[in-house]
């Protein structure tokens, strides 16, 4: 289940081994996730839109400490969380195209007024990642220690939230590869009808096979990060 991130020259790519994304993950009723097949000799190169390759490696390492791959099932690595975050930062959310960004900024406003800062998510990540230089080379225990130190920072709060998003978004956004996150929690995605089931299965797990938006609609849907 390990992913091999390999440094690339010139254009920035994140290289994932097929073992992490090529196999078919199956979810069973008792929440066990198992893989039907994997071809370890293949690898997939994903072009990066925002991160440099070293930055992507740090994000991949940090997000997988937040949502680890462990005995409870796959985590941020298998779901492709780093790829998801890269695309979000390159898109309208990362550039604050839907946030009111006129000053003056009151950076120390009480929490009930929401984030009042000037920095965009892209700037917050760039700055936060600078302070995590070399993070991906640390041992897991050292990584956890490092994250503990920045746990209350805006960067960490964003990274944690984005990790959850990348685990459970529709696969068209780059995360939740193979619907691995949905299988893990038994969420069926945009399932068109629960009419025959909504008043049944009381007290027992009902876990229909997940469908992606593309499968449910029979067509390719463009995510907002590709629109603007």
């Amino acid at each position: 289940m390990m992913i091999c991130y390999r440094a690339m020259r010139r254009r920035e790519f994140l290289t994932l081994s097929a073992a992490s994304v090529g196999g078919v993950l199956v979810y069973s009723l008792d929440r066990e996730v198992f893989r039907l097949s994997a071809h370890a000799d293949q690898s997939i190169r994903i072009p990066l839109r925002f991160f440099s390759e070293p930055e992507a490696l740090i994000v991949a390492a940090a997000s997988s400490r937040i949502f680890p791959s462990d005995e409870a099932g796959p985590g941020a690595r298998e779901a492709g969380v780093a790829v998801y975050i890269d695309r979000q930062l390159a898109g309208p959310w990362g550039r604050d195209l839907h946030r009111y960004t006129q000053g003056p900024f009151e950076e120390n406003a009480p929490a009930e007024f929401g984030y009042q800062g000037e920095a965009t998510p892209r700037q917050i990540y760039r700055q936060g990642l600078k302070e995590l230089k070399g993070f991906d080379g640390l041992e897991p225990a050292e990584q956890d220690l490092k994250l503990k130190q920045i746990e209350t920072s805006l960067f960490f709060v964003l990274l944690r939230q984005n990790t959850i998003e990348g685990m459970f978004c529709d696969p068209m956004h780059g995360g939740n590869i193979d619907m691995v996150g949905w299988q893990l929690i038994g969420f069926p995605g945009p399932r068109m009808s629960n009419y025959d089931d909504v008043e049944k299965h009381f007290g027992e797990a009902f876990r229909p096979k997940p469908v992606s938006l593309r499968q449910a609609t029979g067509r390719k849907v463009r995510p907002s990060e590709d629109l603007e």
Partner: protein
């Protein structure tokens, strides 16, 4: 500025009330009607492609773009207001259909005494029981006058539910505390998911009177009186923040638009942002003569009209009056002026978060398929020994369990919020968690109001609207009261752990409550303390009508859309029966 040919009627805003008025005037008269909608067009056939939690529920793709225009907020006049840089506690809509496209669809009528709140409260408890700085008013319309219009709105939308009071006869299983109804709901109640069924049984065992929430997500195939058909709900769990993928949820685009599209005398112009309502000459100061707007290409346009409707939601209705200098802005220091007063936001809280030892399959459901307990609503229960007025509704709803928003909700006993231990607990609790919500009244206060912000501007350079808003003791005590009741029911439901709502502190703009904001251009019985007469007509300017919840003198625990539609129907009737024959004040 380009001047367009004059029309009979211009309607600002293409949401529920604007399109309802366009349909009524367009189909019942030959008047030429233009609807100006600042957002884009919408086609409900596209909605299956919107079933994406990230883009729609988290990134708010259907809502007003805050980068262009937002509001500012402060808790009291002594503070400097800050802009809401992203929307949180409420979510204004944009585009044809407005917020009516992405609502949940819970459709309760208000209790009859809501419309006479001031006089009934004084009558029953005496004036000294009212909060010191309250601004509560009677509406100038009664429930009995509105009842036929409530019924019409329910027929238009095909509301699912079970009556609890048919012409005074109380019916077990329905809401026995509701005002009288002239007819049963158009369609039977929706199906009841597991969590809601548990809530129902627990509430009943405690002696309360649970009933299926009235729902605009219709339970079965339905054709409304205009001949517009819709299919029944399939409980996919993508309601609020989404357009309905099969059109089972009533939305302006699948109830009103199909009728409007066939009318030759009604047109909808999208991308047209109205900036000012234009006063007539000094000689004609009791009239307006049209509106100015910026069209999609950025061109400034004057649209002359004989009759102007503002139907652009609570905040924008108020802002347009202030920007256009129509009516006297409200001044809390002197309690004078009418525009901007009585700002309220329905108290809405996750009163009890419940953790069970078994899966709940909460991904199945709809925004409105649930159970309501109204035993603690309004003045249904006696307040003599209590230190607050009014009440609210408890809901055990199953509106879907979308994972980005809900993964990681845990009992207070779990301390970690990332890493392996957190992950394993979050996996366990993800589908073992349910919520009882409490939706309660927000009284009007002299200090909660709207005016124009002195420093922050929108993308066109106009001042943003400023909200001065905070909770008072009445809401805080009411929230605690509802929380205690929710915990009581949650324990009987068999929850292993319960997290109570921590209590209302200052108004929090980041926690979603509801998009039920009211006031600013309120209706009432006197031109000194209200902007509109009981027909939603401006007291001083008889060819200006203002539709929507900006007309509510105060909030009720019932969600506003049914009352908004009933009031709009009543105004349409008054215009058609009286105003078109004899233009002038209706009251």
């Amino acid at each position: 500025m380009k001047t367009l040919p004059s029309v009979d009627v211009v309607i600002v805003g293409g949401g529920w009330t604007g399109l309802l008025m366009a349909k009524e005037l367009g189909s019942r008269t030959a008047l030429s009607v233009v609807v100006l909608e600042r957002g884009g067009p919408r086609d409900s056939a596209d909605y299956p492609a919107d079933m994406d939690e990230l883009d729609y529920a988290i990134r708010l793709r259907m809502m007003q773009n805050a980068s262009r225009e937002t509001v500012t907020l402060r808790h009291n006049p002594g503070q400097r207001a800050l802009p809401l840089r992203q929307f949180g506690s409420f979510l204004p809509g944009a585009g044809v259909g407005g917020a009516g496209e992405h609502w949940a669809g819970v459709f309760p009528r208000m209790l009859p005494d809501c419309f006479l709140l001031l006089s009934r409260a004084i009558e029953k408890y005496g004036a000294e029981k009212l909060p010191e700085d309250h601004a509560i008013q009677d509406w100038g319309v009664t429930y009995d006058e509105l009842e036929p219009y409530y019924s019409r709105a329910e027929l238009l939308l095909g509301i699912s539910g079970k009556a609890g009071n048919l012409r005074g006869k109380r019916i077990e299983g329905g809401n026995i505390f509701e005002g009288w109804r002239s007819a049963e709901y158009p369609t039977p109640p929706t199906k009841i998911p597991y969590f809601s069924a548990m809530f129902h049984d627990a509430a009943k065992s405690l002696g309360y009177h649970p009933f299926p929430a009235p729902a605009a997500t219709t339970s079965q195939t339905y054709t409304n009186p205009d001949g517009v058909p819709r299919g029944g709900c399939t409980y996919c769990g993508f309601c609020e923040r989404f357009g309905c993928m099969i059109g089972a949820k009533a939305q302006p685009t699948n109830t009103l638009l199909p009728v409007i599209q066939k009318l030759k005398n009604v047109s909808i112009r999208t991308g047209a942002q109205v900036r000012r309502i234009v006063r007539d000459t000094v000689q004609n100061k009791g009239r307006v003569r049209g509106v100015t707007c910026v069209d999609a290409s950025g061109q400034e346009i004057f649209q002359p009209a004989e009759l102007v409707f503002l139907a652009s939601w609570t905040l924008n209705n108020t802002r347009l009056l202030l920007l256009s200098k129509i009516g006297e802005p409200y001044d809390p220091a002197t309690n004078s002026g009418t525009v901007g007063r009585n700002l309220t936001h329905q108290v809405s809280l996750p009163a009890a978060t419940l953790f069970f030892d078994r899966p709940l399959n909460r991904f199945m459901g709809s925004g409105a398929s649930g159970i309501t307990v109204s035993d603690f609503n309004g003045d249904v229960f006696d307040h003599s020994g209590l230190h607050f007025l009014r009440g609210g509704n408890l809901h055990g709803a199953s509106g879907g369990n979308r994972p980005i928003a809900n993964f990681g909700t845990m009992p207070q006993s779990v301390k970690s919020n990332w890493g392996s231990e957190w992950k394993s607990k979050a996996l366990y609790y993800y589908d073992r968690t349910g919520r009882i919500s409490f939706e309660a009244e927000h009284l009007a206060y002299k200090g909660n109001y709207m005016d124009l912000d002195p420093s922050y501007k929108d993308h066109l350079g106009d001042p943003l609207l400023r909200l001065t808003l905070d909770w008072r003791d009445n809401e805080r005590k009411l929230a605690d009261f509802g929380t205690a009741k929710a915990i009581e029911i949650g324990r009987v439901m068999g929850a292993k752990e319960v997290t109570p709502f921590p209590g209302l502190r200052n108004y929090d703009a980041t926690r979603y409550q509801s998009t039920h904001i009211q006031g600013g251009t309120i209706m009432g019985t006197s031109p000194e303390r209200s902007a509109l007469n009981p027909y939603l007509q401006h007291w001083q300017i008889s060819n200006l009508f203002i539709l929507g919840a900006s007309s509510f003198p105060q909030n009720s625990a019932s969600n506003p859309t049914p009352t908004i539609l009933a009031l709009a129907y009543r105004t349409a009737d008054a215009i058609l029966d009286r105003y078109v024959k004899h233009p002038g004040p209706l009251a």
